[in-house]
C-alpha cells in the first residue's frame, strides 16, 4: 500500500483522487468489455468480420483508455485548463478538416482516418469545450473586464455549427444541454433561463421543420406504428424478452437483428442477456457516479473547478441518460453512445479523457494540505483558499 508519509507524485495522487469515482469508471469500463462480448459478435458477423473483431478492438482500446483516464487525473486544475485549451483548438481544427477529408458514414462526415484509426474529433472536443466554457463562465463571474459569457456563447456557436455541418444532431443537443446546464449553474438569472428554454424549444421546433430526418424521428416517437421504428421496436422487444433475469449470456437472439447492437443499443442487448435487474444495477452505477461527481464539485471552493467538474459530470450524465432513455423508448431515437460501455475506440478514449479531467478536478485536500505544509495556520488556510 502507499504510505501517507510518501510524498511521491503517485502517493499524492493516490491519497487525493476520488477513489469512489475511479472505481466507478473502471467498473463501467470492465462492464463494457463484458457487454461487448454479448453485443458485438452478431454485428461483426453481419459485417463480415470475424466474430470477436469488435471484442478484440474493444480490449485493444481498454488499456490506452485506462492510461488516459489515470494519466489525465494527475493534472492540476491549471494544467487541466491548458490541456483542454490545446485539445479544444486541435479538435475544432480537426472537425473543420473532417468536413472536407472525413469519411462519409450513413450520410454524415464525423470521422477521419489517422494511422489506420478512425477518430471522431467531436468526441474529444466535448470535454475540452466544457472545461473552457467553465473557465469562461467563472472568469466572467470573477472579473468584470472579461466578457466570459459572450466568449462562451461564441464558442457554443462555433461548436454547434461544426456539429450541424457534419451533421450530428445528437451531439449538438448534448453540447447545448451541457452548456445550458453550466450557464444555469454559473448563476444565470431565472428570467434568462426561461428565455433560453424558450429558445431551446424554438431550436428543436426549427430542427423539426427544417431537417426532415429529425422530423421523422420525432414523428415516429410520438406516433408508434407509423413508419420505420424497427430499431427502437427491436430494442424494446429484446428488453422485454430478457425479463428480470435475462436469457443468459450468449442466449440473446434479438441482438442478431438489432442494428448498432454494440454501440447505441448495447443497453438493450444487456437487458436481453443479463436481465432487467442487471440493467437497473447499471443505471444505479451511472447515477451514483453522477451524484458523487456533482457532490464532489460542491465541495470545491474554486469557481472554475466547481463549474468545470459539474459540467463534465453533466456531459457524462446527460449522454448516458439520453442513450438509456432511447433504449427504453422514453425519447426519440438518437445516435448516442453509452459512455465507457458502447464500442468505439476514439469515443472510449475521449470519454476516458473527459473523466480523467473530472478526476483531476475533484482531487481533494491537495491545495489545503500543501498550504498546511507551508503555513500551519487556519487563518492563512482560509485566506489561501479564497484566492486559489
Amino acid at each position: 500500500m502507499v504510505s501517507r508519509a510518501d510524498r511521491s507524485r503517485f502517493a499524492e495522487w493516490w491519497w487525493t483522487v476520488d477513489k469512489f469515482l475511479l472505481a466507478g469508471f473502471v467498473g463501467l469500463m470492465l462492464g463494457g468489455v463484458i457487454l461487448s462480448l454479448a453485443g458485438s459478435p452478431a454485428v461483426a458477423e453481419r459485417l463480415g468480420y470475424d466474430s470477436f473483431h469488435f471484442v478484440k478492438r474493444h480490449l485493444l482500446f481498454f488499456f490506452p483508455a485506462l492510461a488516459v483516464l489515470v494519466g489525465t487525473s494527475f493534472l492540476t486544475p491549471r494544467q487541466v485548463r491548458r490541456v483542454a485549451l490545446v485539445v479544444l483548438v486541435v479538435s475544432i481544427l480537426c472537425m473543420m478538416a473532417t468536413l472536407f477529408i472525413g469519411i462519409e458514414v450513413k450520410g454524415a462526415r464525423r470521422w477521419f482516418n489517422i494511422f489506420g484509426l478512425s477518430i471522431q474529433a467531436s468526441e474529444f472536443m466535448k470535454p475540452a469545450f466544457i472545461v473552457i466554457v467553465a473557465w469562461l463562465f467563472s472568469e466572467n463571474a470573477r472579473r468584470t473586464d472579461v466578457p466570459g459569457n459572450l466568449f462562451a456563447l461564441i464558442l457554443l456557436g462555433i461548436a454547434v455549427s461544426l456539429l450541424i455541418a457534419e451533421p450530428d444532431f445528437g451531439q449538438t443537443m448534448l453540447i447545448t444541454i451541457a452548456w445550458g446546464a453550466m450557464f444555469f449553474m454559473a448563476g444565470l438569472p431565472w428570467i434568462w433561463i426561461a428565455g433560453l428554454a424558450a429558445a431551446a424549444v424554438g431550436g428543436v421546433f426549427a430542427a423539426y421543420v427544417a431537417l426532415p430526418h429529425v422530423a421523422g424521428r420525432i414523428d415516429r416517437f410520438l406516433t408508434p406504428g407509423t413508419g420505420d421504428t424497427f430499431q427502437v421496436d427491436t430494442a424494446l422487444e429484446s428488453i422485454v424478452r430478457g425479463g428480470w433475469l435475462g436469457r443468459g449470456p450468449g442466449e440473446g437472439t434479438v441482438k442478431r437483428i438489432l442494428p448498432d447492437a454494440h454501440t447505441d443499443f448495447i443497453f438493450a442487448v444487456a437487458a436481453e442477456e443479463f436481465g432487467i435487474i442487471l440493467c437497473i444495477c447499471l443505471v444505479m452505477v451511472f447515477a451514483l457516479v453522477i451524484l458523487r461527481g456533482l457532490s464532489d464539485s460542491l465541495k470545491s471552493d474554486d469557481g472554475f473547478v466547481r463549474l468545470a467538474s459539474a459540467g463534465l459530470v453533466c456531459l457524462f450524465g446527460v449522454q448516458s441518460f439520453i442513450n438509456m432513455a432511447v433504449n427504453l423508448h422514453l425519447m426519440p431515437a438518437k445516435g448516442m453512445t453509452l459512455p465507457f460501455i458502447s464500442y468505439g475506440g476514439s469515443s472510449m478514449i475521449a470519454v476516458a479523457f473527459g473523466m480523467g479531467l473530472l478526476l483531476a478536478l475533484t482531487r481533494r485536500g491537495r491545495e489545503p494540505r500543501r498550504i498546511v505544509a507551508k503555513l500551519a495556520s487556519p487563518i492563512a488556510d482560509a485566506s489561501a483558499a479564497t484566492v486559489a
Binding site: 437472439t253 435487474i277 437497473i280 488556510d381
Partner: protein, 571 residues
Amino acid sequence: MDAADLSTMPSEAARRSAITRPKRSPDLMRRRIRIAIGFFSLAYLALVGRLVMFGMAPPTSGTSYDASAGLGTGRPDLVDRNGEILATDIKMSSLYGEPRNIYDPDEAAEAIHGVLPDLDVDTLRRKLTGNAGFVWLKRELTPLQQNKIHALGIPGIGFLTENKRFYPGGSTASHLVGIVNVDNQGIAGIEKYVDDHWLRDLHAAGFAKGEDLEPVKLSIDLRVQHILRDELQQGIDRYHAKAASGVILNAHTGEVMAMASLPDFDPNNPYNATQPDRLNRVSAGAFELGSVFKSFTFAMGFDSGKVTMNDTFDASHPLRFGKFAIHDFHAKNRVLTTPEVFIYSSNVGSARMALRLGPEGQRAYLQRFGLLSKPQTELPEVAAPIVPRRWADITTATIAFGHGIAVTPLQVAVADAALVNGGKLIPPTFMPRTQEEADKLAVQVVKPETSDKLRYLFALNVEPGKGGSGSRAAVPGYNVGGKTGTAEKVEHGHYSATKRLNSFLAAFPIDDPQFVVLVVIDEPQAEKQGMGATAGLNAAPMVGAVIRRAAAILGVKPRTKMPDGAILVSN
C-alpha cells in the same frame, strides 16, 4: 474541509462574497448544482422505473404460439365392433419459422429447400422474411426430414409435435370412417360426427389431449367390411362396371355391419375424395333402384289386405296410360299369380297391385317405410330422397317397380329389414346397439304376417330350380332370400336401353333373417359375349359371394343338414 465548513455558515459566506465575489455568490452555484443533482436523480429514477415497468410487462408473444394447440387436436381412436383399429393418432413433427429471429432468410430458405425440395424456395424466403412471430413452413414431416432439418442448425425455426390421423386399413372403410383435415379436425364420415357431436366442444373447453380419450367403437366388423369391399371390387372388374356399392345391416338392431362404395379413396391421402364419382353411394346418393322396390309394393298390398297370395294379375299385355305403356322385361304375356309376379319381376303385375291401393295408400306406406324422408344417422353424408311432386296414377304405377322415385340404398336396406324381421322399422346406426335399445326405437310398420309372406316370396325367388330371378344368390346352408332390381338409367331425360343400375336386396337366413345385404352395381356389362347383364346375372351372384364369405364371421350357423337328409358342403 475547513473552507467547506465555513461556507455553510451564511453570515460568513455573505461577508466573504461581498469582499471577493462582486457578481455571484458561490452559494448560488452550489444551490444550482444541488438542483442539477435533483434533476439527475429524477431522470435516473425514471430510467429505473421504466425498467421495472418492462420487467412487470407480460412477455411478448414472440414464440408464444400455443404449442398445446397442436396437441390439443387429439382424437379418440375409432375401432370396429371387435376393437380393431380403424383410425388412430400418430405424433408427427411440423416445421415452423420465427421470421423475427431469422437473420438470414435467404440462407435459411435455401437450406430448407435442400431438404424439402417440394417447397418453393421463393415462397419460403417470403415467409421467413419480416417480423412475424410464427409461420408454418411444412406440416407433418417424416422423422428423416425432421432430422435433416434439425441438423441444418438454422436459428429461428423449430418443430411442434402434432397429431396426424392414420388409418391402418387404408381405403377399406374410407366412406364410413371419414377423413380429417390437416388440423386433425373431422371433415367427413364418423370423424366429422365425433367432432360435431362432442369432440369440438371438448377441445374448446381445453380438454382432450389425446391419450386420455376413450376409443369410439363402431358397429362395423372390419373383416366383413373387407369382404364386402373386396367382392364389390371383384364385381366391378368382372362386369366392367362404373361403380358398385353395398351395405350389410343387422336386421334386428339396425346396426350397419359393413358399408362400402366404390370407387373410394384412401383417407391417409384423400386427394381425390371430393371427386363426384367417389361419393358414398350408399347413403349420399339417391337412385331409381328399380325392381327391388316391388318388395315394398307387395308388402303394402298384403298389409292393406288388398292383395292376397292367391290373387292373379293380368300381365298378358302392356299397361297403358295415355301415350305411355308399361312393359315387362321378362314378359310372360299371361295372367300371373302373386308369387309369379314377384319371381318373374313383372312390372305390369306390380303396377296393377299398386293401383289397388291408389296414390294415397302407396304414399302413406312409403312414408311409414321411411322412404320419403331423409334418414337420420350418425353419418353426415346423407342424401334426401327425390320424391315426385305430382303423384298421379301413372306415378303410382311406375313407383310400384321402382321408377319415378330416387332413394338411397341405405334407406332401401333399412326398410327391407323391416319387411323381413317381423315388421319393425329400426333406424340404422353406425354405433353398437343392443337388442333392447333397438326394440325401444323400433316402429311396427307392417304386420308380422305380412313379413312372413314377404320372406316366403324372397325365399322363393332365390331357391334354386324355381326359375326365380335371384337364384344365383343362393348359398348352400344359408337360406338366402332376395329380390333383384334392374333399373334403366336416365340419360338425356329418357330411360336408356343400355345403361342400367342393377341391385340385389337379400336377407339371410330367410326363415329367421339376421342380416340384410344390398348390393348395387352401376352400368355392369355382360360378363361374356351373348350373356345378359340383368341384376340376376351380376348383383345376385355378388350378394351370394358376400354371404358365402361373411356369414360365418357374422355368426350365422350354416345348416348343412337339409330336411331331406342330404349333407351340403359349402364351396
